[in-house]
């Protein structure tokens, strides 16, 4: 790469919280900016760039045709494309709407003007284009962002942990939330967030997506041990993972 690598941030349907996590790095952000040439970051910059990008971070999911087209164009202009945050990596909460007829959601929010606001089924980025790196989380975990950034800049791969949040949770010495009578998605969710939510007394909502081979039998056994319903877990999994379901499910 000649000179500093050209880096850009883009957003599709999202809350922009993942990009905001960058501004929250404090003065460490200046170190990051020293290593890259930030050519586009619409949230905080007026600059735009017409060349190609060495790294393109894309936040958000695809929820309309315009976004799909934009994503394909960004892909064409980028050497490495990074899905940035749950909306981009697994569809995130935007996927919840896939569980209903689109027309129902449209008329629920916009009434008789529904046709003014077209929408399509929510998609994660890799369902449409090739994705080189995944940074999971709602929002992203800043330490992991820095790890992936370093990997992407040096051209090495980054492997998202494929073990459960429980692993990190145990390291953090948290008391299991099942022992407190509530359901937690930690046992089936990919680690990498340092069990952020459980450290703060809440349950894991599964925002980083499911491990590749979740132990269903184990999860069912735990649920029955604590007298909790399996329906609870199924419903919780659909908060973040609904977009990854196939159309006919």
């Amino acid at each position: 790469m000649m000179g500093r690598p050209k880096v850009a941030f883009f957003d599709l349907a999202s809350c922009e919280g993942c990009q905001l996590q960058i501004a929250n790095l404090g003065e460490a952000l200046l170190d990051v900016l020293g290593a890259i040439d930030l050519v586009e970051f619409r949230e905080v910059m007026s600059n735009s760039w017409n060349g190609t990008y060495d790294l393109a971070f894309v936040e958000g999911s695809v929820v309309n045709h315009e976004a799909e087209e934009r994503l394909r164009k960004i892909r064409e202009r980028s050497d490495k494309l990074i899905a940035y945050g749950s909306c981009a990596t697994i569809g995130g909460v935007n996927g919840i709407k896939n569980r209903r007829l689109l027309s129902e959601s449209q008329s629920e929010v916009y009434g008789d003007k529904a046709q003014w606001y077209p929408t399509i089924r929510t998609r994660a980025l890799h369902q449409l284009v090739k994705v080189d790196y995944f940074i999971n989380g709602c929002p992203i975990y800043p330490d992991e962002f820095l790890r992936v950034l370093k990997a992407a800049l040096t051209g090495v791969s980054y492997h998202v942990p494929d073990y459960a949040v429980c692993v990190e949770c145990k390291f953090n010495e948290n008391v299991c939330l099942y022992d407190k009578g509530v359901t937690c998605l930690g046992p089936v969710t990919r680690a990498g967030c340092n069990s952020w939510c459980v450290n703060n007394g809440n349950v894991c909502y599964g925002c980083r997506g499911l491990v590749s081979n979740p132990n269903r039998a184990g999860a069912e056994e735990v649920l029955s041990t604590y007298g909790l319903s399996g329906e609870l877990i199924a419903n919780k999994m659909m908060m973040y993972n609904a977009a990854l379901e196939t159309d006919d499910e």
Binding site: A13, S46, N47, V93, I96, K97, W196, G201
Partner: protein
């Protein structure tokens, strides 16, 4: 210049949901069109909430916005608790007020430094100030991180708070943590002085349009942010449950965000609205700041919303410090910690009902409204976002402003209109735009 034609089309991305454009059309010196087009990608939150547990509402709705995630959480929790008939403890309310102060402070700082200052100092971004004003950039990043660090302690993080839930908090701050927050706030208050100097030295466009302002109001002495009725400078005052008669939302074909109007064709919410309605309840430190920058109520210059935000920074920092000191002195009752989940352990009694949350988010009055059944499942949800309430008002401002600046160059007209939109701090304070200005028949 009376016969001038201007067809202006400014395209920029807005942080609310996708694209916004400014479209202005002047023919023979007469304004035909002034629109702020919001071409967002709708996410259908209200529809997504249906069928989910009321205990999940705050988790989902905080994802509406990354900048004001805590405000959405707090409005959502308030609506949820009223719907199921749960009354939070005094300590819980105090901590929620603290959180809201810190969020308003955080968001205002982001807007003042990252958005308004570059505009007013003529650079493309805050980072463009690194060469000549690296102290300003470092201060901005430090202050932003300070707010963030406080939120980390209070609720786990600022973007999508973790421990603020229906019923209270899943984690409560320890004394040592509160002492640390106190130290951070004291430093922040010290850093406000140079921030005030920065804003005081800048020149804001001179524009006046008498406007109806809407914000929370109350009969006690507190500057209302978390509780109160909805009130307006035209003398309207209604309980938050009547929010639909305040916002009177309507759809326009050029915007996928709903517009709002009350006593007139439009109204405004946000820091300036709160300042105009509740000036006499501001903390003395905030009034000092208002004096320094010469801001007085009522103020009808929308560009000065940024100045009102600065005044609120002082108010929120000082009030947050006061609450933290109270908590240190009286201690935090750790036994109030809750473990809620989706209420599998039935720790919170649930009934069918309807509840409205009304909270002053950084950008203005935010409403959440839920109806739940007796199992605590959401049957109906409605959220009215501050930026949506401001859209019609921004257009009305543009209609008055454009004829006043017609003699300026197209670049200058564009810059001023962008500044106007940005002054409202729309929920995506996005600085990107490319522009396509046509002067027809010059």
């Amino acid at each position: 210049m009376m016969s001038r034609n201007v067809a202006l089309n400014v395209e920029f991305l807005t942080r609310i949901e996708g694209h916004g454009h400014i479209v202005v059309d002047v023919v023979d010196g007469v304004l035909r069109k002034a629109e702020l087009k919001i071409v967002e990608a709708p996410r259908f939150f209200e529809a997504m909430l249906q069928g989910r547990s009321i205990f999940e509402a705050q988790h989902i709705t905080s994802r509406i916005c990354g900048i004001c995630a805590c405000s959405h959480s707090l409005a959502s929790i308030q609506a949820a608790e009223e719907a199921i008939g749960y009354v939070p403890s005094t300590q819980t309310v105090k901590l929620r007020k603290l959180l809201l102060h810190v969020e308003n402070l955080d968001s205002h700082l982001l807007h003042i430094y990252f958005l308004a200052a570059p505009d007013l100092l003529g650079v493309q971004s805050l980072m463009g100030l690194m060469t000549d004003h690296s102290g300003v950039v470092r201060r901005a990043l430090r202050m932003k991180k300070a707010c963030n660090d406080i939120c980390d302690t209070l609720v786990g993080r600022h973007v999508h708070p973790i421990s603020a839930v229906v019923g209270g908090f899943t984690k409560l701050p320890q004394k040592r943590e509160l002492e640390n927050i106190r130290a951070i706030l004291q430093e922040l208050i010290d850093e406000l002085d140079p921030t005030v100097d920065l804003i005081a030295a800048l020149t804001f466009p001179d524009f006046i349009r008498e406007t109806e302002y809407v914000a929370l109001c109350s009969d006690d002495g507190e500057y209302p942010l978390l509780t109160g009725d909805a009130g307006s400078t035209d003398g309207v005052r209604r309980a938050k449950e009547d929010y639909r008669t305040i916002t009177n939302e309507f759809l326009v074909s050029h915007s996928s965000a709903k517009h709002a109007r009350l006593s007139r064709g439009s109204y405004s919410v946000g820091a300036l609205a709160r300042f105009n309605l509740n000036f006499d309840k501001l903390h003395p430190l905030a009034r000092t700041v208002a004096d320094k920058i010469g801001l007085t109520a009522p103020c009808y210059n929308p560009f000065l919303n940024t100045a009102a935000q600065l005044v609120e920074c002082a108010h929120c920092a000082a009030e947050a410090l006061r609450i933290v000191e109270e908590l240190i002195d009286n201690g935090v009752d750790q036994s109030e910690r809750v473990i809620v989940g989706v209420n599998e352990n039935c720790s919170i009694p649930v009934r069918a009902g309807s509840g409205v949350g009304a909270v002053e988010a950084p950008r203005g009055l935010l409403f959440h409204h839920y109806q739940v059944d007796d199992r605590g499942i959401i049957r109906q949800a409605n959220c009215v976002i501050p930026t949506g309430q401001n859209l019609q008002n921004i257009e009305d401002d543009m209609r008055k402003l454009v004829p006043e600046i017609l003699e300026k160059s197209e670049d200058e007209i564009t810059r001023i209109l962008e500044m106007l939109v940005r002054a409202y701090d729309p929920c995506i304070s996005c600085s990107t735009h490319f522009l396509d200005v046509h002067f027809i028949g010059r």
